[in-house]
């Protein structure tokens, strides 16, 4: 953290539980209007504004501009309002599913706010509720949703064939419910954990569950160990860049359950899988930002080799975490694509053969994977276009000797 810029340091220090109030006070004394604006942008961009605001209040810092606090407070309250609504809806759905004997697991969302932060207001509200059900019970879950006033997102205009196609390939369907005029909720019903960089075995997820008491209702959720692995993988979904808010979730998980976490179990679950590098990297990066203890033996076992560690450091450094790729231009995209297809494949492979397998599957993506990515079936022409686009950085490299540049 010492290598970070001043506003970044303050941002991270405030989020940490072990921070030094006097030290932060000293740093913010030097802040001008631009710094406060920059800090606000950083906090909101990473979706960490609710917990940041809460930490700010508990620290009772001096000389915090009232407008800065006012803007954060407004954002905090609106977020809290949304989370309360979503949690209430989630409970309503899960209770109804339970009555019908449909096991369902809420993924992320308000449940994590309660579980990791002990407070609904402290985690950014998602735009929808993600619920995982078993594929054999999907239809029953779909019927149940329709009985509590949820309708398919396109107002049921899909034919049965289209609906089945979407479910087969996208492995999820969306439903919406207009609760009152002006307030609606979107539910995404999943049968798979798609969107993760490395495939998470679904059966493992279903086997490692526990019950969580949500205001008297028993809710199914992953065990702490599974949640840690899941969050490590989830943090890499946004174009395979680490998301700081998930690193913070990991920090909160470890902070809250440090004495209960079974590191041996995590080691056993991941040591021979492709998840190993993701977990190693998310954990060490979260540790770098927020500072907490991870058992040395655990890190030693899952530590990737020296080349992988070197590549990881180039890929995921504080700049890539603090400033998302959306700020970058097309040249960065080209570079990123080449990086994505070759380097990250190497990083996550178990061996050279495994690496070749990953690259092949990424370039010649199976149709079902491709449909999952684009949420709709693609024609052969679109598929060729997709492959062509992926190969563009390589042809650029061969022709001009550079991967990126205008």
């Amino acid at each position: 953290v010492a290598k970070l810029k001043e506003i970044e340091q303050v941002f991270i220090y405030i989020l940490r539980e072990d921070n030094n109030r006097d030290e932060i006070n000293k740093r913010i004394q030097q802040f001008d209007e631009d710094d406060w604006r920059g800090l606000f942008e950083l906090v909101t961009k990473h979706g960490l504004f609710p917990v940041f605001y809460n930490r700010l209040l508990s620290l009772k810092l001096e000389n915090t501009p009232p407008e800065f606090l006012f803007r954060l407070k407004n954002a905090f309250l609106l977020n809290l309002q949304r989370n309360i609504l979503l949690e209430r809806e989630l409970s309503r759905i899960l209770i109804y599913f339970k009555e019908l004997n449909i096991p369902a697991i809420p993924l992320k969302g308000p449940i994590l706010a309660r579980y990791l932060y002990n407070d609904l207001g402290l985690r950014q509200a998602p735009c929808d509720l993600d619920i995982l059900v078993r594929s054999e019970q999907f239809e029953a879950a779909e019927d149940a949703l329709s009985k509590i006033n949820y309708i398919p997102c396109n107002n049921g205009r899909d034919t049965l064939f289209q609906r089945n196609l979407k479910l087969k390939y996208a492995r999820q369907l969306s439903f919406s419910c207009n609760l009152v005029d002006g307030t609606g909720v979107l539910v995404e019903l999943h049968v798979d954990l798609r969107g993760l960089f490395v495939y998470f075995p679904l059966e493992y997820f279903w086997r490692n569950l526990k019950e969580f008491d949500l205001d008297g209702n028993k809710i199914l959720m992953p065990t702490n160990e599974t949640l840690l692995i899941y969050l490590s993988l989830v943090s890499m979904t946004l174009s395979e860049f680490i998301e700081l808010r998930y690193l913070y979730d990991i920090y909160r998980l470890i902070l809250k359950f440090k004495s209960e976490l079974d590191w041996l179990k995590i080691t056993e679950s991941i040591k021979n899988t492709r998840h190993k590098t993701a977990v190693f990297f998310s954990l060490t990066l979260s540790q770098y930002f927020f500072y907490f203890a991870i058992p040395k033996d655990f890190l030693r076992i899952i530590k990737p080799n020296i080349i992988k560690r070197f590549l990881l450091r180039i890929w995921i450094n504080k700049n890539n975490v603090l400033y998302k790729r959306t700020n970058r231009d097309y040249s960065w995209y080209c570079f990123f694509t080449a990086w994505h297809y070759f380097v990250t494949s190497y990083l996550y492979s178990k061996s050279i053969l495994d690496c070749i397998k990953i690259i092949r599957s990424k370039i010649f993506l199976p149709m079902n994977e491709m449909v999952g990515r684009y949420s709709q079936p693609l024609s052969n022409a679109s598929r060729s276009l997709y492959i062509k686009r992926l190969l563009k950085p390589i042809s650029r490299l061969l022709k001009k000797g550079v991967v990126y540049g205008r």
Partner: protein, 97 residues
């Protein structure tokens, strides 16, 4: 007669105390009250706390007069105004109605 009434909160309105301020928020925002958040003063916050669906209005008045130094008439006036506001935003209703 008025003092015997028992008030109860609307479960769709939640409260939260932030920076010593009690805030009321409707969970379901209707189109005419998008982003409506109400801030309560000290007396109003205490009244909101006392409304529990069990205490009568008379009992709430009695507790308030023991806690606040304001003259009884002023307290009554303030309480009546606050309850009218709360009813206006559908935050409370009389039990049994």
């Amino acid at each position: 007669m008025e003092d015997e009434k028992i008030l109860k909160k609307n479960p769709d309105i939640v409260s939260r105390t932030i920076e010593d301020e009690t805030i009321l928020m409707p969970i379901y925002k209707t189109s005419d009250e998008i982003n409506c958040i109400y801030t309560l003063n000290q007396v109003a916050a205490r009244v909101w706390e006392l409304i529990d669906g069990k205490k009568s209005l008379g009992k709430i008045k009695k507790i308030l007069s023991g806690e606040f130094a304001s003259p009884e008439k002023e307290l009554d006036r303030e309480l009546a105004k606050f309850l009218k506001d709360l009813k206006g935003i559908k935050a409370i209703k009389v039990k049994g109605q």
